[in-house]
């Protein structure tokens, strides 16, 4: 993709405006490193999906993901970071000493170092009927769409913290919430599990996987299969909320960057990838724990590593 018509050259380009990217921007900006943050969606990444963030140190326990995102963005901007928001990354060239990023097919930015912090997107179920009923019975955001299901019966798919916490939150609206999970145990914290199990409106279907969505003009329910017995049955519901994790946003990266089997970027402890001067931070990289605080940590390390790289 190497192009000669470069719009502007930076020391570092950060791909992604979630907590990892914004933190990297804060550190780089404060170190007087000329930095551009390129963001394809809303500033804040998946953080904006969270209604209240209770476990981020030093802020009000009911701060919304959106408010925390805006504070981080303001901090990065105050330290001198430039932003290209809501753009589409149409090309990335990591081959030369000066890396290039093309946006919207017409502008090319270059930098000596790149930090990839492009995050993840909610993982879809990938079954028949999912796209047909998206926004018409299928949702990925309880705080956004919960009130459409007042006095209705809904299914929540997943067994992590998000699924169980959102199941509890949805009982404010729904008459009945059924959690469907593919394993015989949850991956959530004990606290989240207890809150869900103690809620009289919530029931559980374990070791079962959705095979397809049932519905014609409107969503009617799902067909599920028990993972051990392979027995199939139908569960009727007015809506389905899906919280089954995230997919790393690595589609637009060149093949030269090494990914694992789940398409996450492999880094060392300094957030360095296999390409000199290219670092990765946050949910886009291979790691066990995906929290705002771990993204912030990754962003810090990636920024400091990029500064080291620039000084070599």
């Amino acid at each position: 993709m190497t192009k000669n018509n470069i719009t502007e050259t930076y020391d570092v380009i950060i791909l992604g405006g979630g907590p990892a990217g914004l933190t990297a921007g804060i550190y780089l900006g404060r170190a007087k490193v000329k930095t551009l943050i390129i963001n394809e969606g809303s500033i804040g990444g998946q953080m904006v999906l969270t209604h209240a963030i209770a476990n981020f140190p030093g802020v009000d326990i009911d701060i919304s993901g959106r408010d925390l995102s805006l504070k981080m963005k303001a901090q990065a901007k105050a330290f001198g970071c430039d932003f290209e928001s809501n753009v589409e990354v149409t090309g990335i060239d990591l081959s030369g000493e000066l890396k290039q990023v093309e946006i919207d097919g017409d502008e090319v930015f270059a930098a000596k170092s790149i930090i990839i912090a492009s995050g993840g997107t909610p993982r879809p179920l990938g079954v028949n009927g999912e796209s047909q009923f998206k926004g018409q019975g299928i949702s990925y955001c309880a705080t956004c769409d919960g009130d459409f299901f007042t006095d209705k019966e809904i299914l929540v798919v997943g067994g992590g913290n998000s699924a169980l916490e959102e199941a509890v939150s949805l009982t404010q609206y729904a008459r009945k919430v059924t959690v469907i999970h593919q394993f015989d145990h949850f991956q959530a914290t004990e606290h989240a599990i207890k809150l869900a199990q103690n809620n009289a409106k919530i029931s559980f279907i374990m070791e079962s996987e959705i095979q397809h969505i049932i519905g014609d003009q409107t969503l009617k329910g799902v067909e599920i299969m028990h993972m051990k017995t392979k027995a199939r049955s139908q569960v009727f519901a007015d809506g389905i909320f899906i919280f089954i994790g995230y997919i790393a946003n690595t589609d637009s990266l060149p093949d030269s960057i090494i990914l694992n089997a789940r398409n996450e970027i492999i880094t060392d402890e300094n957030m360095a990838t296999n390409i000199d001067g290219v670092f990765a931070a946050g949910d886009v990289r291979e790691k066990q724990f995906r929290q705002i605080t771990t993204a912030v940590s990754d962003g810090t390390i990636a920024a400091l590593s990029a500064i080291d790289y620039l000084q070599k």
């Binding site: 394809e40 969606g41 809303s42 904006v48 999906l49 969270t50 993901g65 959106r66 928001s85 809501n86 753009v87 589409e88 998206k134 926004g135 018409q136 019975g137 299928i138 949702s139 990925y140 955001c141 705080t143 956004c144 769409d145 459409f148 299901f149 003009q217 409107t218 809506g239």
Partner: protein, 113 residues
């Protein structure tokens, strides 16, 4: 009123006037929530490039938003935001829930080419 940089529709009269007096209109009716914000961002981003389209938002919980909440094309919608595309006063497309920039551009390119 929503805190976006888009133009706001704040009454049924506003809505009628905008839809009747503009050939191509995109209206996003939502809240300041995580599924709505990216759509507003995309609309703000596209305003310059699609100067033949008029972009507006509308606060979903305002009484006047009933004009879109109860629109026949939204009869089965159960996800915010409700996004409408009007051509010469007629709703030619409507979507429910978050849409990507590509999905929005595809609709604009087909309906308002």
């Amino acid at each position: 009123m929503l805190s976006t940089n888009l133009k706001h529709l704040t009454s049924v009269e506003d809505f009628n006037q905008v839809v009747e007096n503009n050939e191509n209109v995109m209206i996003c009716c939502g809240r300041m929530g995580p599924m709505c914000l990216p759509v507003y961002d995309v609309m703000e981003n596209l305003e310059e490039k699609y100067d033949h389209v008029t972009f507006y938002d509308m606060a979903f919980d305002a009484p006047y938003a009933n004009v879109l909440r109860s629109h026949p094309k939204a009869a089965k919608f159960m996800g915010l935001p409700f996004t409408f595309y009007f051509k010469n006063g007629e709703a030619v497309e409507a979507t429910s829930s978050i849409q990507s920039k590509k999905q929005i551009k595809d609709i604009l390119d087909v309906q308002f080419s």
